[in-house]
Subunit: 402 residues, 2 copies
Amino acid sequence: MDKLKLINEMAVDNGSKIVLLVMDGLGGIPMEVGGKTALEAANTPNMDALTAKASLGLSDVVAPAFSPGSGPGHLAMFGYDPLEYVIGRGVLEAMGIGFELKPADVAIRCNFCTLDLGGNIADRRAGRIPTDECIKRVEILRQIEIPGVEIFVEPVKEYRFVLVLRGENLGAAIPDTDPQQVGVPPLAIKATDNASEATAVILRQWWEKANQLLKDMPPANSCLLRGISKDPGLPRFSEIYKIRSAAVAVYPMYKGVSKLVGIDVIDHEAESPAEEFEVVAKHWNDYDFFFVHIKKTDSYGEDGNFDSKVKVIESVDQALPGLLKLKPDVLVITGDHSTPAKLKRHSWHPVPVLLAADSARFGSKTTFGESSCITGTLGPIKHVDIMPLALAHAMRLNKFGA
Amino acid sequence: MDKLKLINEMAVDNGSKIVLLVMDGLGGIPMEVGGKTALEAANTPNMDALTAKASLGLSDVVAPAFSPGSGPGHLAMFGYDPLEYVIGRGVLEAMGIGFELKPADVAIRCNFCTLDLGGNIADRRAGRIPTDECIKRVEILRQIEIPGVEIFVEPVKEYRFVLVLRGENLGAAIPDTDPQQVGVPPLAIKATDNASEATAVILRQWWEKANQLLKDMPPANSCLLRGISKDPGLPRFSEIYKIRSAAVAVYPMYKGVSKLVGIDVIDHEAESPAEEFEVVAKHWNDYDFFFVHIKKTDSYGEDGNFDSKVKVIESVDQALPGLLKLKPDVLVITGDHSTPAKLKRHSWHPVPVLLAADSARFGSKTTFGESSCITGTLGPIKHVDIMPLALAHAMRLNKFGA
């Protein structure tokens, strides 16, 4: 909290405008020796033109060698050190499916699993049942009622679902019941603090009933409870930075993580980058900070589809004038992590950052890409510094010390 | 420990192979304005060819301006922050001469010194007596027996020797007796915790007897006790990283520091880089991580012999195909610190790192040297991140958070 407290003390609201444009999983690596990354291969005349009035840098998201999940990646970009501010897996899973979590809710990511006749785990993922089998069982589990608590069960994908408890005085200090191995029974549901004792009792009751309902439905005849957690109550983004802030995102996870830090989520029907930029334009006078999230760069990276990732980047570039005409004082273009199509997964490779502002230390770069960012004037930075740098370039941070 | 704990939680054993090839004191500076470093001056076609499928970086070993000793340099390279994990000087000195230290032993690095008739120190290094004079006295000191403890006395070099106590319940919380000045008596041997009281009594008895035996042997007629320490019980390398690990080293210090973190030390007769690589080849199926140590780059740096340092680097390059034919998934080539021949000592200059892997962000470099590493795609890194980065590139680290 110390660093955010210092930033907060230096922050002033001067009415200047900042846009943080995030292409999910933007960073990449070449598919082969001597090749280019997706960002380098993309034809991006608008972004390249911006480099003349921008500062480029390459940024470590969490720490060298860490491949960040979406939660930690966005927290870092919002200025919250993900090694310090931890969001539970249950909360992240609930956010990922767009569940409207309330501050006192307890969220649990569950796996359907297979128990053998002796009650030991035969398969921790229930043979990876298809999603429709998951939905069928989730509907059955919704019958379970326990006095004094409201219960939500939501399917996610394949063997995964989310369980949410809503009520008074719930606690989340309850370890996973997944023993991470087969041939043994699930671990007992036990609270590790007094405040979670009553919640553990509720969960034991729920789990017993769930086993009754599922017992004749192999391979998914039981479930494991994991990542039992609550909203961590993060410091409020708008208050720390003294800026009216809004999120324009299409996917639930990114709306969820925005809400978690207290960024307003704008309701809209937009899908394409151009449409998302129109949403920003429409709300331009209502907010001074806009987080705009583009998902598909990551999706195609995960699919190993280099060419489609390139095309998404190009579509963002083509739409960019719609954002530039608003004349933000600071425009940051970056990603929440790298997703190289070659690796088909989130990776640890540092992420390119472009920061355009009148106050930038302009360099001599002419293209926006990983290679040009290595020696950019922004230097090698960390994601947790992106927000403070954006504020500084917007002349929103006073001097430190006299 | 937190960072290592996180790495441990992300680590998976996928059977991929990593080689960490360390040329001791690799980094350097040009001998004159406009010149090249030893690595840049060396003819290294194999390493240069590797740069196409590698990521280069320049790495700070401990912290800017810190010239690391061999202990901290290697600890950092193994992923243990040397500012957090401290190995006592007595333990390091014992390791440096190949003494087989046990976990409960107390090791002390001693100086022969000269006491005057009044018992004050006249020379803290006993006129830097030659090593054979040291050995003569060490043999005399081996006569000393104290009930309940086994005592080892081993010569090191000139006025330096090692004393090791082996027994039950020994403590090492005993400050140096070296007052760091002449004209005053040695400091009293005093424990600073209860667990070390009995050990202080033993050391006082030993020191009295040593003075008796040495009293007619000026200039080395007494000794000072320094760096009194025990094995710090570091977290085990193979367990943290979930990788079967082995060291191939020629000199005792590097075998010692490997043992200290729990890396298996392979017995062998190899001396040249080519022979060391053959040892790796012979044990290729027994381990998934190999630390290979080349000493002579540092020795010639310390001697101020630039040309010979260049030749050692060239000999490593010539032997490199013997390592490459094993097709490691990740090959890291670096040093544990810089030893510029111009300075004839370990220095603080950041060290070049080459990381070759299919998952590397390939750059456009064509040579391996300090200058090319400055703007490499690995970026400016820290030595403590080398192991996590090697694991990440070997796809041995899962995502951080969801």
